[in-house]
């Protein structure tokens, strides 16, 4: 079970990278998360998550050519690797399994009047 380590925020980042597909780089990922999940994401938190994921081999990156609107800095685009995909799948499956194992009664909250 320890094979795939994916934190909650990391999973969100992975999913967003998947959504953005060809256009996943720092600012776009940040904006996507902020609009979709309506939560604030700082550049630092995002970048360190991206670096962690890359170190784990779930993401790979390549730098684009420099563009003038970014003061001559390249964009770093991210893509999900095969391992990353597996990790996401694993995370989804375990979650589904857990969901499935919950007996209906437990979630079917009723007020019992004695």
């Amino acid at each position: 079970m320890k094979k795939f380590q994916l934190g909650e925020f990391e999973e969100v980042v992975m999913l967003t990278v998947g959504i953005l597909y060809e256009n996943a780089y720092g600012v776009s990922i940040k904006k996507e998360i902020e609009t979709r999940l309506s939560r604030k994401v700082s550049v630092g938190a995002l970048q360190s998550a991206l670096k962690r994921l890359e170190d784990k081999g779930y993401l790979r990156s390549h730098d684009s050519d420099a563009t003038p609107e970014r003061a001559g800095r390249p964009k770093r685009f991210f893509k999900i690797t095969a391992l990353g995909k597996e990790a996401m799948q694993h995370s989804k499956e375990t979650r589904n399994q857990l969901w499935d194992s919950i007996p209906d009664v437990a979630l079917d909250v009723k007020f019992i009047i004695a």
């Binding site: 780089y25 720092g26 600012v27 940040k30 700082s42 550049v43 630092g44 938190a45 970048q47 360190s48 670096k51 962690r52 990156s61 730098d63 609107e69 970014r70 003061a71 800095r73 390249p74 964009k75 770093r76």
Partner: protein, 887 residues
Amino acid sequence: MNKPPKIFLKFFRWFCHPRLKKPIEGDLMELYEERIVENGKKNADLKFIRDVLLLFRPSIIKPADGTYRINNYGMLRNYFITSIRFIKREKLFSLMNIIGLSLGIGCALVIYKILEHETSFDKHHKNYERIFRVVNEFDQTEHGTVYFAGQPHALAEGLRNDFGIKAAMSYYEKNGLIVIDDGAGNKKRFQEKEGLAFVQPEFLELFDFEWISGDPSTALSGQGKVILTSSIAQKYYGLPEKEVHLATGKSLTLENEKTLYVSAVIKDLPSTSDFPFTSIFHYQDQDATNRYFYEGKSWQEYNSNTNCFVLLDEASSDTRLEDQMKEYLIKYQPEDMASLMELKLQPLSEMHSSSTVTRNYRGETVSDNKLIALGVVGLFMIITACINFVNLSTAQAVKRSKEVGVRKSLGGNKVQLVTQFLSETLLITTISAIAGLFVAQLLSSQIENIFGYDISLNLFSGFESLKILMVIVLAVALTSGMYPAFILSRMNPILAVKNSLNVKQTSGFLSLRRALVVFQFAISQILIIGILVLNMQMDYFLTKDLGFNDDSIIVVKLPDSTTEKLQVMKNNLLANPHIEKVSYSTSGPLASWKVNNPIFHPQITEENPSGNLKNIDEEYIALYELDLIAGENFTSGDPEDQAIVNRMTTKLIGFDNPVDALGESFQYGRSGRKYIIKGVVEDFHAGSLRREMDYVVLANQKWNIYQAAIKFNTDQTSLNDIKDLLDYTEKQWSAVYPDNVFDFEFYDEQLAAMYDKEQRISEVFKIIVAIAIIIGCLGLYGLISFMTNQKTKEIGIRKVMGASVLNIWNIFSKEMVTLLLIAFIIAAPVAYYAMNSWLDNYAYRIELTPTVFVISILVSLVIALVTISYRSIRASKANPVLSLRDE
């Protein structure tokens, strides 16, 4: 284009990991531009700053030393793992290394602690640098300049009045009888052997004490007051430690004469105090115990236990005061006395370490030279341990040659290899240091018994000791790791991997390794010679014919010498058939203290000869079996102006034949009386054998009688009989002195105790010698293993050719014996010089004979051969097939 805050951009560029720098900066810039459009520059700036600060987190920050650190970490880990594996694989070698180093480190730690203790004396006084002791400087053309610390009682008051400085007298009386009366008629008696001090109130202003109860300004404001230390208050009044303040106001009686009240209780004085006081009385109260006090007004009464301390304004020795004091004594002293001496100021810091004024209240000083010598010994221990390590590690070098070869082939450079072996050494040294702590603990409990003071080895009590340990570890690791590291890293990788390192490549006949073993052997031989000479001198001290008999004699102090009491006791004692003789006198023939005054006679040519005066009775000469060679013994009723002198004294006053001196008279003391010589005894030792014999004057006056000597007839007595005899003696003694404590000693034991210092040195020496020899053997073992490793093939071939085990053992022993002889040639002169100059301290000493040297070389030969035999016999027994086939 708008620019974000410059400092923060720079900060970001500085800390960011180089790989991430450009894309993240791009993101930041993009966001910045957008925010300016949305919310204006100010807001964008703030958000930029926030983002930069939030980026400052471990995964974004670049590693401390660029990316190199990542590599090095892995490498260091590898070094560590290899070292652990190596230690595990070569258990015996590692163990020997660790034992050697831990012994060395343990020794050095203990020695460091001793040095720390000896150099921290009296530093707890806040006036430490401003307090001086007044000492007398005598210019004696014959003996050079000598110093005495004893001062006349009136000196401090004179200095106070005439110079306006703070000065205080102190008198230290070692012995005293303290009686505690609990009010219900029960009396507890304590015969104290040390700790009774009498000081002037000003003394408390000069020196610092920790007050539990009472007030320093009033504690000695008048006579009849006494300050007790916590532990003595507990002893006298049976108080628990927390309630010692309750002793205040209680009373005690001193020498059955004075009843005094406890005015204050202080904490026990630290072990680093040269004032071993337990009870501090007012100076004027010393008349109860000091018969020569004369109300403290005398300018002529000198006593080595009466000292004078002054407090100066400046830390430096005030030469102006010394100059003024130069002529000062003439004011109070007769001119012939005053002209002989000068007053000097001795800083408190020198009181413990002076080699010129060797008296202080602790009874001994430790000169700086001795401390330096001790430090050198400590250094030697560490050095021999390092040498050992070098020997053992280079012996192992061959075994590691493959590893080195592989590392080199894979691109490991010399620096990396050196780093590897140094870190390995550091690991072993650290382990040894921890083991060394245990060694130090063991040693210190031994040394504490010998020296009688605590060596607190609690490393966590002070940062200082921890720091010292760390310094030792680093220094040892560096000195002992360097050479093996270089040897190993220098190996030719091809030869190393092929395991065919040339023997010559790592050793020549005068290799460092051999030189080191020679050095080690030289040190242990010097130490062996040292301990032999020390023990022989001790033996000489204890067995030399002193010129009198000290067997079966007990000596008891007399509280007073009333003639009637003495007579009653003598009669009662002699009623017991097992008690042969009883004699009352000033002291035994040999005593640690003496009454000393100059002798005057017209025919004396020697300058200021002084005579040792003892008052004796008619039994004395027979009891101690002194040899009466001319004239007659005293008989009861003899006039008091007669004396028996020793043969030296008759020569002094010009008579070669003692018989001619009979009837001659001489003057004893400057204003003393004249004595007529009635008899002459053969010379005997009246003082320790460290000194020349004294001129002795035996008189028969009734004053100055302090001691009873009782001789038992021990021909047919068992231990039980002696106990009965002692009980009997005590009963008779107590009948005469009911208010005192019967406190006796066997005379021969008392004499042996005088050489306590030598005995202690010899004990310490024994420990050091044992450790040095163990370390030396380890080094030797290292060398022999190296040689057997090198010569595996040679031995194989020799065996094939028909050599016997003995032949092969011979090859190794021959080399060892050669090294040993070289070491001996170095050690012998050094040891001879050192021990000879040590023996020169003693007037009566042994001569250094060749036997000592022969014994020392035989001992080290045996030790060396035993050490190498195991290894060399194992090598010679190995099957030659095994050693020859791997080519």
